[in-house]
């Protein structure tokens, strides 16, 4: 399904170890992510300081769950209300179908130039590459996405796509790819991008964006942004195509208020983004601006499969705030590209196995120490560690078997090792015996313990186990008692 554009630096989940190794050895990447994540964590903490955060997260979770509990009905309601507002609604079973559909909408208008607002779901389906093969140029207009596109890369963070690049690297990209004089001045670079993109907004035949919340009650598409490129994309070109995963629907307009409060604070520690743009139709008779056509493309791409299972369902609550990656000690160190997936970090590790299968993504659910930082900050209370554990079970064939690639990670050696462990841990006599033997062999055990001891001193089994020590302690206290 995925057409990789030529020249694009490709990362794959299969190569997680190598990619993580490279990132860990790259001091620039390490520094960029560390400082950015530290900043984001601090800002989030401050932004929630005067809130009853638990009550708000509880509300956020209930809003999302309420939507999911009625998902098919709400999608129909969304469709009906959008249509009543003049928005045309399309459905796509997977990324390929969505790409085709969007291309056809573009072709119907004879479109050659597409301008894009930020949309992770279109990244998920590699829409830009697809459009390019049809001779349609898709240009990203979010500054971070623009920079990443200029640099032939993919986003390394779902909220801050160019977070892996520092100012010097961006100065190079802007100079090399757009021909502006080399400058490190952020305002100057921003102004240059503004000028470059303004022309492109005016020239674009179609604007494509994602959707943050789609309101069933009113047929409204909500877009959350700071730059104004989303508003440009949805107002200037004659056609606006909004693309969203089917899970993004909410029941009522009022549901947007808590989700918006949670999203902006969790993502970047903002009380509000510069714009909350709520679109309920194309340009009406008498109106002066806005697109003539608005389309909504509802994309399934694996979501209805996740929806089947009570536990996995929680994955679909996600509002894509990125807080789980900002707080993840693994993401912070290896960066977004190491994961090799559209969504990196904890949310990626619980979502991508459904989209790509567990075989391709087998190293992602284990790329977590289960420290719980992600689950602690998730604004809609997704139990991310529990879902990671669930996927680990599925990967070794001890789950429900309803995730693609279930069981593909099971190896005979590892399964046998756990069986042996089970036998030992359910035979206390043998366990104590083994502990005793290990203790006696302690001084002889190898001081090299695989990769562990490349960085740490290997632990030595104690000479006497706790079982043995307690026995001795008991007889000592008994003697004391007798004397």
């Amino acid at each position: 399904m995925s057409v990789e554009p030529p020249g694009v630096q490709t990362f794959t989940p299969q190569a997680f170890h190598r990619q993580a190794h490279d990132a860990l050895g790259n001091p620039q990447i390490r520094a960029n992510f560390r400082s950015a994540m530290d900043g984001l964590m601090g800002k989030r903490r401050e932004a929630f300081a005067d809130w009853e955060l638990e009550a708000l997260r509880e509300l956020g979770a209930s809003v999302r769950l309420r939507a999911l509990a009625q998902l098919p009905d709400l999608l129909e309601r969304l469709e009906a209300n959008c249509q009543a507002n003049g928005i045309r609604v399309h459905w796509a079973e997977d990324g390929e179908a969505a790409c085709r559909l969007i291309r056809e909408l573009c072709e119907a208008r004879g479109a050659k130039a597409v301008i894009k607002g930020k949309s992770m779901v279109t990244e998920e389906m590699h829409l830009n590459a697809h459009l390019e093969t049809a001779g349609i140029e898709a240009l990203e207009s979010d500054l971070g996405e623009y920079l990443v596109q200029l640099n032939d890369q993919t986003p390394s963070h779902i909220i801050m796509p160019a977070i892996h690049l520092n100012t010097d690297e961006i100065a190079d990209v802007m100079h090399d790819k757009t021909g502006i004089p080399r400058t490190r001045d952020v305002d100057a670079m921003t102004a240059a991008a503004r000028a470059q993109l303004r022309e492109r907004f005016m020239a674009a035949d179609v604007g494509i964006t994602g959707v943050n919340f789609a309101v069933a009650e009113t047929g409204t598409l909500c877009l959350v942004e700071n730059e104004g490129n989303g508003r440009m994309t949805t107002t200037v070109p004659p056609v606006h195509i909004a693309v969203t995963g089917i899970e993004k629907v909410v029941e009522q307009l009022r549901d947007v208020a808590p989700l918006y409060a949670l999203l902006t604070r969790s993502a970047t520690g903002q009380h509000a983004t510069t714009y909350l743009n709520m679109i309920s139709g194309p340009r009406q008779a008498g109106e002066q601006d806005g697109p003539e056509e608005v389309h909504l493309v509802l994309v399934d791409n694996g979501r209805s499969a996740i929806y089947q299972d009570d536990e996995l369902l929680d994955t679909l609550r996600c509002i894509r705030c990125g807080a789980c990656m900002n707080h993840c000690p693994v993401y912070t160190r290896v960066g977004g590209h190491s994961y090799g997936t559209t969504y990196p970090g904890p949310i990626g590790s619980i979502l991508m196995p459904h989209l790509m299968g567990l075989e391709a993504t087998k190293d992602l659910p284990t790329a977590s120490s289960l420290c719980g930082a992600c689950g602690e900050v998730c604004p809609v209370k997704i139990p991310i560690p529990a879902l990671l554990t669930r996927l680990r079970r599925e990967a070794v064939g001890e789950g429900r078997g309803n995730v693609p690639g279930a069981g593909s990670k099971r190896t005979r050696t590892e399964a046998a090792a756990w069986k042996a462990w089970q036998w030992l841990a359910t035979h206390p006599g043998a366990w104590r015996g083994a502990a005793g033997v290990a203790g006696k062999l302690g001084p002889l055990t190898p001081s090299k313990l695989g990769p562990w001891s490349d960085h740490r001193v290997a632990p030595k089994p104690a000479r006497h186990s706790l079982h043995a020590l307690i026995k001795r302690h008991r007889s000592a206290t008994d003697e004391e008692g007798q004397s």
């Binding site: 993580a20 190794h21 860990l24 530290d38 000690p329 693994v330 160190r333 290896v334 284990t366 790329a367 977590s368 120490s369 289960l370 420290c371 719980g372 930082a373 689950g375 529990a386 554990t389 680990r392 079970r393 990967a395 070794v396 001890e398 789950g399 990670k409 399964a415 756990w418 069986k419 462990w421 089970q422 030992l424 841990a425 359910t426 206390p428 366990w431 104590r432 502990a435 290990a438 203790g439 695989g450 990769p451 562990w452 001891s453 490349d454 960085h455 740490r456 001193v457 290997a458 632990p459 089994p461 104690a462 006497h464 186990s465 706790l466 079982h467 043995a468 020590l469 307690i470 302690h473």
Partner: protein
């Protein structure tokens, strides 16, 4: 999340669940935990047949194997006494994951009942024993590393530091990013050794940078990891399980 737990009055008897890491690598910590409890006039029962809570298999996805091992532990604590665990991670397994592991099985009720009387050691010392400590050690600067399970799963970010704060001659310092994982994560350290190494390197450097002469923790996984890293680069800073540290400074 921090569970709102109603703590019982100090009981005459408790069970000690030693945990497999303590059993094999840090038995003194288990013994010192027992001594601290006995010092409070509590009789400590250590069921001989205990082995492991099952967590390593559980977090690796080997749920059936984990359940078999967990089931064997369920039978070992028949009296309604509290079960004290010198580890946030194993405590979290018993308290929060046993109910899930046995949900829908004949052992569900038993697992729930057991989970309800599990306490992590520092939690028990603070909230049930209301422990009072008189420091007899030499002045020392110490950092506390609270494990992620203790901090997040059990909601016990405060109990370890609260105990250390009672030690009059100990200066407690907080390392940068104290809440961040040390990189152990059980089999994570084995499956992703490089990432884990980067995490423990940062953690050990933060502890040194805080000016600590020693760090203490209530989880042996973290202890093995951080102390192992510090020793590997011949740092002066040593690590110790909080039970041993407390016992050394206040015990007879």
């Amino acid at each position: 999340m921090t569970p709102i737990k109603c703590y019982p009055p100090k009981p005459p008897r408790v069970y000690l669940f030693g945990t497999c890491l303590v059993d094999l690598f840090f038995p003194e910590a288990g013994l010192d935990a027992m001594r601290l409890l006995e010092r409070e006039g509590i009789a400590v029962d250590f069921p001989e047949d205990q082995t492991c809570c099952g967590q390593p298999a559980y977090t690796s996805g080997y749920q059936d194997e984990a359940r078999a091992v967990a089931a064997a532990q369920l039978d070992l604590f028949p009296e309604p006494w509290p079960i004290v665990v010198p580890s946030g991670s194993c405590g979290g397994m018993l308290r929060h994951h046993y109910p899930k592991l046995f949900a829908g099985t004949p052992l569900e009720a038993k697992a729930n009942e057991l989970a309800g009387r599990v306490f992590e050691l520092t939690e028990f010392l603070v909230h049930v024993c209301h422990l009072e400590l008189e420091d007899r050690g030499a002045p020392e600067t110490v950092a506390m590393h609270t494990s992620c399970s203790a901090r997040r799963e059990m909601g016990l970010a405060e109990t370890g530091p609260a105990l250390l704060a009672q030690l009059g001659r100990v200066t407690l310092v907080e390392q940068a990013r104290a809440a961040e994982c040390c990189g152990f994560g059980g089999t994570f350290a084995v499956r992703h050794p490089e990432v884990s190494a980067a995490m423990v390197e940062d953690k050990s450097r933060a502890i040194e940078a805080a000016g600590a002469e020693r760090f203490v923790t209530s989880d042996c996984g973290c202890l093995m990891n951080i102390a192992g890293r510090l020793a590997h680069r011949d740092s002066e800073v040593e690590g110790e399980h909080i039970a041993s540290y407390l016992w050394r400074r206040v015990g007879q």
